[in-house]
Amino acid sequence: MITPYFVIIPLFAALLIPFVSRRNDVRAAYLSLAAVLSLVVLSGYAFVRLNGDTLVYKLSAWKLPIGINLVLDAFSSLMLAMVSLIALTSLVYSVNYIRHLGADWRYYSLFMILVAGMNGVLVTGDLFNLFVFMEIALMAAVALVAYGGRAHEFEAAFKYAVMASVSASLILVGIAVVYGATSSLGLATIAQSLGRTSPLIVLWVGGLFMAGFGVKAAAMPFHAWLPDAHSSAPAPISAMLSGVLIKTLGVYVLIRLFYNVLGAPHLFLQIFLGLGAVSIILSNVLAIGQWDLKRLLAYSSIGQVGYILLAAGLGTPLGMVGAVFHMVNHAVFKSLLFYNAGALETALGTRDLRQMGNVTRLLPVTSRTSMVASLAISGIPPFNGFFSKLIIIIAAVQAGQPVFAIVAVVGSLISMAAFLKVQRYGLRGGRTVEKLVGHVDGWMKTAMIILAALCLATSLLVVPGIREVTLDPVVKVIMDKTGYAQVVLGK
């Protein structure tokens, strides 16, 4: 019964941090590192031991139609592992980096609440519980976006909070409609009884959830808050937001609801495809136009989420392999790129690509790891981004959607152009930088090197022997569609 600990550990750490740390942040940092390290171990253990099984935990031992249950299956345990891993590197990176905003335990406490909220969304099997955990994660995220305390950070945080509250209202109306139609809130019981109601209800519920969680996933027409929020946050938090928050609150919930609860209705898969294609093309074009490095990365995040949505919209098992694989890969390389941006900002004192120059001699680790990440995100073999994009393109052709395959190829070329710009101006420019204003320390280098190694290591997930134990169980859970309900209720 390890499922509740994914929420308990970070939440308890968040509570404990104010008590153990007085005035300085050293103990807070070590406590949160210990908490997240235990989450990494726990989620890795859970993923290996589950081996495609599903674990249902009934809170207070109430049976399902009455009580709330926590469900740990292959999909959620893979996402948990991803969240914990990125959170770990993000904390390692923060230890010294965040001191330029003051040595404060509150940062670590908020960070732990963010992790608790995301883990809660991943393990819960109840619709309203999911909503509550989502709000917990969002409140912590808004506070962390404003953490820097400068004017534009407050502005970005305000915009983010308003968008979040609008989408939360839409989701709440969706929950009300679901409850009105089925008189239950457990995802499994909804999945069973929603099929018997009229298709109009499915249409309403799907529309409300698509709009509500589409804002969280920042698919293209709903993306307006993302470039501000993600570029204003401190670098490790940008990595958390872009790397895992938009995936857990947005993409994971969308896939879970539309596949496992609503049973993948054809109309909504078409919407997935449309949103994905629009996001891929437009956001990558917008990314090229940016001179602020972090804004460029934020726009590129929208495009990469577009790939995941497009692959999920294909509705074939191979497309789902691509979606899940790209989700993991994007978490790794986009976090790495944000760490690089933070390191460059520390070392050069600017985020403007025009004021950067050649730093390959002074910042060898940053420039090499950013080269790895740029190659990975542009889809160059042997890095992970190549394989996931290749799978998505093959899946699109096989599913009889050659137009979307072409969109994916074109989007990949445009994103390559954007990252050529990053390399050409930001790190390998004509003007050689003589001296640095700040120091990139060992903690930051460690985090960057870990993720650069993961960029190579995760491409091993496509090797047939490894794919059977990692990606395939996840895809099986998703493509089982409403079979999820039988699995959860059967125990």
Partner: protein, 112 residues
């Protein structure tokens, strides 16, 4: 039916406010109105005409009671909304300290 339409109208009032108002405080109020409309809708879904309060006592029939679960959900959702509203208000105060205005057209230092 009228109640549902009115509830939806309240939701639209909130949405209209968020989309068109330029004052930070009015935006916060609009988001509150939107939240109220959602809560009202949840309670309405649990209501049955002529229903009584859902407390089981001797000699009372459970069939005549309104559904208590939406009321519990609404309580939770009100608490969440309180948190969100106070967070928004705190951000608005800090924005005012930085810019000396609540008008968002004068605050915009970030573009699209």
């Amino acid at each position: 039916m009228t109640l549902y339409v009115l509830c939806f109208a309240l939701f639209l009032v909130g949405l209209y406010g968020i989309l068109t108002k330029r004052d930070l405080v009015k935006i916060i109020l609009s988001s509150g109105i939107m939240g109220y409309a959602c809560n009202l809708m949840l309670v309405l879904f649990g209501y049955r005409s002529g229903g009584v309060y859902p407390i089981l006592e001797k000699g009372k029939d459970a069939a005549a009671m309104v559904d208590p679960l939406p009321q519990a959900l609404v309580l939770t959702s009100i608490v969440i909304e309180l948190g969100v509203t106070s967070l928004l208000a705190a951000l608005a105060i800090r924005l005012y300290q930085k810019y000396r205005t609540y008008d968002i057209t004068k605050i915009r230092s970030l573009a699209g």
